[in-house]
């Protein structure tokens, strides 16, 4: 950057937007113009919309860069903008109390942001920003200087594995597809849940990766499969695609090499099953997203019956880096088997929720405590669920394990979509498992028997257990069901659908037994198994709980101990939450 300049970067990812980022940016523009700031400080002010940098719990994040020195403000509200402009930009004095603190630093310092890095730095709606950061240089190198097989070799050597599900070697997949006889081939970039921030923050990297992939396998056409609901991602990708087309990076005779490649959008609808490769292809073809049997694999016979490569947007984002920086550089990151980095959405009961990118193999503990800042409300960590709904639940005792494909598989989990939900001791594992199974049951396409009926039976048994009518034999039945589903389901959804149960049962057997044998929910979550009671010695009769109760179950005179009518109680826990004297206990 030039030495004498002022740059204001406003985080405008989905959560930045949700926190009022647009308004903040508008106000910055307004005040700078209104107060004639540029004239007063004698330099131009540049405004930049940037994508999500992951630290979403403290949005809106604003960077003010004056002459190269960066100050980051967190939780910026529209009302704060005026003072930042006056005091900092004009006055030259940063405002310490609004600056991002240690949490922000520690959140970022442990991360290794190779693909999320540019998000939060560049304007995703401006292709020149991306080109300035060596954008499309890798594509140019691949298309003009390398053979398709050469590209595949580099990708294979780098050890990159699919970031979406099973972790199949990306290079190998491409090679199989390239080896097919058909002339028509397709390449599909699946923009899933976790990739949303990538699409919003650095859409060109996905497009460039897709372009390189298309060149490598010899595809003429690429698809970006994205859910329509992700409005912002769609908009940014569309803008990026138009810009790339204008620059001649997409279209006919790319980089004068004679290679033609076009990218089209395919809008998916809300369906978890569409994350499965073959179901996704059915969906692009406009049909019900029912997975196809394998073999033949998509790389042999995929979209419209043609060889097709499907990779996740995160996988594609890695491609320009691998081509640009070399396979050796990439494979120096991560573990022996799992190379590179992985993006996770850290959510649940940690202090810092957000999008994190870590080198493969980083211990779970570090993610939760260093990056996530520990458990919110100083409660105790209970478990972490990794890999989205069909991932496994990893207990606190195993938190030192490294996160990579092999270790996760060993504990019965998957890398999956990269979801990471942290539970504390107030979460009931049985209930959580029930939630995941409920989700999977709802999303099951209904094609094959084990998944269609199996998930339903599994859910029914879990409901039975959380309702307090479970029997010990039910656990056997659940285990038997898990066995059938894992071994005999048609697609990945069915095969992994029992992961939440298997892992939670292995690690939290006592909790299941407490529900069944003692009819108690240790975490006090399952409504049928919990009783809210007033401790008369502690109750001062303030009446807060009476007012909070939506069912009118709490009665009592002011300044006298209250009572809860168990017949009316709907176990919502509202009284428990409002009581300041801890005079309500749950059992």
């Amino acid at each position: 950057m030039s030495t004498s300049s002022v740059e204001i970067k406003v985080c405008l990812g989905t959560s930045g937007n949700a926190a009022g980022g647009e308004e903040v940016l508008r106000l910055f523009r307004h005040y700078v113009f209104d107060r004639a700031v540029e004239a007063r400080i004698g330099t131009r002010c540049e405004f930049r919309k940037v994508g999500c940098r992951g630290f979403c719990s403290k949005d809106v994040l604003v960077d003010v860069i004056i002459n190269g020195s960066k100050t980051t403000y967190q939780s910026v509200k529209p009302i704060m903008v005026e003072r930042i402009v006056d005091d900092h930009i004009v006055g030259g004095g940063p405002i310490p109390e609004w600056m991002a603190g240690d949490e922000y630093t520690s959140f970022h310092s442990k991360q290794y942001k190779i693909i999320l890095g540019p998000c939060g730095e560049i304007d995703p709606e401006n292709i020149d920003d991306y080109i300035r950061m060596n954008g499309y240089r890798a594509a140019r190198k691949a298309v003009t200087k390398m053979t398709p097989d050469g590209v595949i070799d580099v990708v294979t050597q780098s050890g990159l594995r699919g970031r979406g599900g099973s972790g199949f070697s990306t290079g190998e997949k491409w090679r199989i597809c390239r080896g097919q006889k058909n002339d028509t081939r397709y390449i599909i970039g699946n923009v899933g849940e976790v990739n949303r921030a990538l699409a919003e923050g650095n859409p060109h990297a996905i497009i460039e990766g897709l372009l390189i992939g298309g060149y490598a396998i010899g595809a003429q056409k690429g698809y970006l499969y994205i859910r329509e609901r992700y409005h912002l991602s769609v908009e940014r990708l569309r803008t990026a695609l138009d810009q790339a087309r204008d620059k001649g990076f997409i279209g006919k005779d790319i980089f004068g090499s004679g290679f033609d490649f076009n990218i089209e959008f395919s809008f998916g609808t809300e369906s978890f099953i569409c994350g499965e490769e073959t179901a996704l292809m059915e969906s692009i073809e406009g049909k019900r997203a029912m997975p196809r049997y394998r073999p033949p694999f998509p790389a042999e016979k995929g979209l419209w019956g043609m060889p097709t490569v499907i990779n996740n947007a995160e996988t594609f984002s890695n491609i320009p880096l691998i081509i640009g920086m070399g396979a050796d550089w990439f494979s120096s990151i991560g573990t022996a088997e799992s190379k590179g980095t992985k993006v996770f959405t850290l959510s649940g009961k940690v202090k810092n929720n957000g999008l994190v990118e870590i080198p493969m193999g980083m211990p779970l503990r570090e993610i939760v405590y260093s990056i996530g800042g520990g458990i919110a409300g100083n409660r105790k960590l209970k478990a972490v669920q990794v890999g989205g709904p069909s991932g496994g639940i990893i207990p606190e005792s195993m938190i030192d394990m490294g996160l990579d494909y092999e270790s996760l598989r060993k504990v019965g989990s998957i890398v999956g979509s990269g979801g990471m939900v942290v539970f504390d001791d107030e979460d009931c594992i049985v209930s959580v498992t029930k939630f995941f199974v409920e989700f999977l049951q709802r999303e099951s396409c209904g094609e094959c028997t084990p998944c269609r009926i199996g998930t339903k039976r599994m859910l029914e048994l879990l409901i039975k257990i959380t309702d307090g009518t479970g029997e010990i034999e039910d656990l056997d039945t659940l285990n038997r069901l898990s066995g059938i589903m894992t071994a005999s389901s048609l697609c990945g959804l069915g095969r992994t659908a029992s992961n939440p149960f298997i892992t939670s049962f292995n690690h939290f057997r006592d909790e299941y037994l407490a529900h069944i044998r003692d009819k108690k929910c240790p975490a006090g979550v399952c409504p049928a198994l919990v009783v809210f009671m007033v401790v008369p010695e502690k109750c001062k009769g303030c009446g807060l709980c009476r007012k909070a109760c939506p069912a009118g179950a709490v009665t009592g005179e002011i300044k006298k101990a209250h009572d809860i009518n168990q017949e009316l109680c709907i176990k919502c826990g509202a009284c428990y939450k409002v009581c300041k004297l801890k005079a309500i206990k749950k059992q």
Binding site: R288, C445, E447, C448, I453, K456, R457, L461
Partner: protein
């Protein structure tokens, strides 16, 4: 379609076999006399691998025999305890969402699901839970669609689409509540060829006329030719107490190879109708009733009248129209008769319209 080029040798349950490449495990096993049970597989339609009952063990993992092509040196085990237990549990799962009403079900005795339940002796199912229940019944005239008994194998959907080319039904909804139904769950309104009824492995699709008319094992099967049109489909008449109670067609027999149309499959009631003509009728007096007559008498009347018309007005005063229900040989004879015996070219056929 790929051509079978080279043959591949593999081992199924210890039996060595060579088959053309592209053959599925299921077909290969059939060649060595091993029957792998399958509910969604049907030779007439594309495969889907949906029911998972045909799972076999290959190198320790389970694959579906109906969809997996053989590969060289493959070792397939179709009946290990692991496979058999898994199959048992799968059938058990299917039954947990199936009405236990085999004693009144029309399909009893010829139901593929019942056979498997019998084979695996599933008396006390391990899995229990909610069953799909549908209050609405299909009001179409021919096919009883009891979707509670449907196991979503998809054979009916595919034969309707791929063989009959109609697409009257398709999968709708998803997950546990997935259902095969006509658009917007209206009553079925199609050609009613009944191909779907033929392929249904359970009692979900049954001819409405068949219900309570007799059990499969009390019927005698008589092979016949369909009288409705010149195609001459081979029928299999199911006869009970000298009455036709059902018509089916057998795969591999005749030109139709198991397929029928609505008339052949469901229009058999005329055979035992009291209104059916059994002798020729002649109006002996002007203004009188039609009275039964012998064939000799009737043909005599026809011959003498034709002769009289020909003598009086010439042969071109006579025209002949024959029927598509007659065989080709009959039709040939008829035009020969018109041309040679009557002496006119006025002969036509209803199929020409």
């Amino acid at each position: 379609m790929e051509k079978p080029i080279n043959s591949i040798s593999l081992v199924i349950d210890g039996k060595q076999i060579s088959v053309p490449s592209g053959t599925t495990i299921l077909d290969a096993a059939k060649q060595v006399g091993i029957t792998i049970p399958a509910l969604c597989y049907h030779p007439k339609v594309s495969r889907s691998g949906a029911c998972r009952v045909c799972i076999v063990e290959v190198g320790g993992t389970l694959v579906t025999a109906c969809t997996t092509p053989v590969s060289g040196g493959m070792e397939v085990i179709t009946n290990s305890p692991y496979v058999e237990n898994m199959r048992r549990d799968l059938i058990d799962l299917i039954l947990s969402d199936h009405p236990y009403d085999c004693m009144v079900c029309q399909k009893t005795g010829e139901c593929e699901l019942q056979e498997l339940a019998y084979k695996y002796s599933i008396r006390n199912p391990v899995f229990r839970g909610e069953r799909r229940q549908y209050a609405q019944k299909d009001g179409n005239p021919f096919i009883d669609r009891d979707m509670e008994k449907c196991i979503l194998c998809g054979r009916c959907v595919k034969i309707c689409d791929e063989v009959q080319g109609v697409g009257a039904i398709d999968f709708a909804y998803k997950g546990f509540w997935a259902k095969v139904c006509p658009p917007f769950e209206q009553d079925l309104n199609c050609e009613f060829c009944g191909q779907c009824v033929m392929v249904c492995p359970t009692g979900a699709l049954i001819g409405k006329n068949w219900v309570a008319r007799g059990r499969y094992w009390n019927m005698r099967e008589v092979e016949s030719t369909c009288p409705y049109c010149g195609v001459g489909c081979t029928l299999s008449l199911h006869v009970k107490e000298n009455e036709i109670v059902r018509v089916t067609a057998k795969e591999g027999r005749g030109v139709n190879d198991g397929l029928l149309c609505v008339k052949g499959r469901f229009g058999y009631q005329f055979v035992s109708s009291p209104d059916r003509l059994k002798t020729p009728l002649i109006r002996r007096r002007k203004g009188g009733d039609l009275e039964p007559a012998t064939w000799d008498e009737a043909l005599g009347v026809v011959a003498s009248r034709l002769k009289r018309v020909k003598e009086q007005y010439g042969p071109d005063a006579i025209a002949g129209l024959s029927s598509a229900r007659c065989t080709t040989e009959d039709n040939y004879l008829f035009q020969k008769f018109m041309r040679a015996a009557v002496g006119t070219n006025n002969v036509d056929h209803c199929a020409r319209l």
